[in-house]
Structure formats: C-alpha cells, structure tokens
Symmetry: C2
Subunit: 204 residues, 2 copies
C-alpha cells in the first residue's frame, strides 16, 4: 500500500504484526504445556510480555486464538514434503526424510497432538466451534487432494491407485491416528512405519 519506510523504528502495522506473532508464539508455548482449557489468556499475554488487552485486540476469543495458531500450523508445517509429493518424487525418499526429521519434530508433534485432543473435545461441546474446526479439516483434505492430483498427473502411469478423496482422507486419518497412539505408546512410532505405509497407500 505504502512505500517502504526507511526508518529503523517499526511502523504501526509492522509493530502490530510483530505483537500478533509474539502472542501466537506464546500461545503455542502455553497451550502445549497446559492444554486448551488449562491455559489462561492472562498467562499467554504475560508470556508474550503483554497483557490481556493486547490479546483481545488481536483475537476476539480464546478459541479464535487457538484457531489462528492452528491455521499457522497448517500453512507452515507441511510445505517441505508436499512439494516433493507433487513433483512425483519417490515416496520412499519423502517418507525417509520425514522419518529422519522425526526425532527432531517429535516434541512439536506431541505438543500438537495434545492441543488438538483437548480442542477436539472442546469443539464437540460447542456447535459453532465444531463447524469452524471442521472447515480446517476440510481445507487440509482439499490441499492433500490437490497435491495428489498433481502427482498422479505427472506420474508415469498417470493412474491413481484409489479415489483421491479417500486417499487424502486415509492419509490424514493415518497421520492423526498415529500421533494419537504415539502420545500414549511412543514405541509405536518406530522407524519404517511412515515409509512403508505411505508407499503402500500412495504407491512408489
């Protein structure tokens, strides 16, 4: 909209964006430690170095804050390998990469699984929230489907092994289910589970 400012000092918009980001980072920390219910808006604000007023200037409710965090997660934490999937890279290679990063990502995955769990329960008890969460699931599935479509167009055979809606659904279910089981029984996240299952589902 405007010319880039030359000053070191932030413009109001930049400062606002920075505050928002600081609040989201704090929210991740607090939500993942205390769960959605256990986390207080006060603590989120304090962790970010602000007060409640700042939170409510950026997010209209606590649910809104969580959903914004989820949106950030959904648009941020996938792109590395989804691109390779679209380009037709061998699944084994992609999966091996995922698995190699797994020990490093484990804590983040666990944190998300816990937050998700509690927010799911919360959403079950409030129709409006449930709908908004369902939208995110649908959006995630659509994204998967788009990538799979690209892949199978590029693929030498050009033939998908099964309905893309169902394949996308199955992939999401598998990932979510595995994170869930891994929460209780971490040994289940053994090497090879990703690469074998994804290869089996998606094809070579």
């Amino acid at each position: 909209m405007e010319a880039q400012p030359r000053r070191v000092r932030l413009t109001r918009e930049e400062a606002k964006a920075q505050t928002r980001q600081a609040l989201l980072n704090a929210a991740f920390e607090v939500f993942s430690r205390h769960g959605f219910n256990g986390a207080s808006v006060d603590l989120v604000a304090e962790t970010a170095g602000y007060t409640k007023g700042a939170v409510y200037a950026h997010f209209s409710t606590k649910e809104d804050l969580y959903l914004a965090l989820l949106d950030e997660h959904l648009s941020e934490d996938t792109p590395d390998w989804i691109e390779q999937l679209e380009e037709g890279a061998p699944v084994a290679e992609i999966a091996a990469q995922i698995e190699a990063q797994l020990p490093e990502d484990l804590e983040r995955i666990r944190a998300w699984a816990m937050m998700t769990l509690e927010f799911f329960l919360h959403a079950m008890r409030n129709e409006q929230v449930r709908t908004r969460l369902a939208e995110r699931i649908e959006r995630g599935r659509a994204e998967y489907m788009g990538s799979l479509e690209k892949r199978y167009r590029i693929d030498r055979t050009g033939i998908a092994p099964m309905s893309l809606v169902h394949l996308a659904t199955a992939l999401m279910a598998f990932e979510n289910g595995l994170s869930l089981l891994g929460l209780i029984y971490p040994e289940i996240l053994a090497t090879g589970i990703y690469s074998e299952t994804l290869t089996r589902l998606i094809g070579e």
Copy 2:
C-alpha cells in the same frame, strides 16, 4: 471351582458377575454421556441401581472401571470380521460389511471416540495410567498381527505386502484417526473410505 448349582437362585458368583456387568453397562452409558472426567462414580452406581460401595467392591478406581470397560470393548466389538480376515475372505467384502453396519454402529463409535479422547488426556497426565493404556494398545496390535499372519499364510500368494507390525499399526492408526476426524467432521465417514483403504493396505 465348585460344581454347578441346580437352584434357580443365582450363586454368589453369578450374582457378583451380574452386578459387575450391570455396573459396566451403566459405566458405558454415563461415561459416554458425560466423558471420563465429567462422570461421577456416584452416578454410575445410581444408574446401575446400586451405590458407590458396589462399584468399589468390583473396581479399585474410576480408572479401573474405565479400563475394564475398554477391555470388554476390545474383546467384544471386533470378532465378527477379524475371523473373516483370518480366513482370507476378500477385503472388499469385509469392508463392505463394516460399512453396511456403520450407520447402525455410528453412535457407539462416536461414544467410544469421545471416551477414548478424554481418557487419553487423563492418561497423559498420569504415568501409571498411561502405561496401563499403552498395554491395551499393544495387546490390540498383537491381536491384529496374529490375524494378519494367519491371513497371509492362507492367502494364495502367502506374501504379506509389508511388515506385519507396521501394517497392524497402520490399520489401528487409520481406524482411530478416522473416528477422531469423524467426531468433528462426520461427512468424512463417506461410503467407500473403509473398503478402499483396507483393500489398499491389506490387499485384495
């Protein structure tokens, strides 16, 4: 231990077993309506027509009660199709059967998904409970593995498509994940998702 009684009146053991079953039935009803945390032992007892004393005579804690319920569920709600799986019946046929029953089972599935969710969270915060729940997951997986092993021995090819541990894990993850997503976004449980995915994973 003793010879069978000839009286119409129940033996003490039979009466005890009957009470236990009544308590489990009541527990299912109350837990699925109020969740694990929300359910009070008092209400479970009352629903079954007993008092707290009866509950604690059969189960040492509320967790114990839930785990007993889970054990019943695990040993009861699978056998129909696991047998067919072992006998090498076509997966499409098995899956079609599951899907045909799905509308009927939906409420039960949802109830279990909700209870599971809440109990998972509870288990995450108590190491002892977590271990006991992990045992159930492991037991379930072992059962799956046994069935798959039988199937692939019978199967004309005799060759499993992937590591049986991982296949069993993937099946569990898929089922759990799908129930979970279905809680928030019921439309995801569309016809064909089971048959296509199971066929793809297990083989024809």
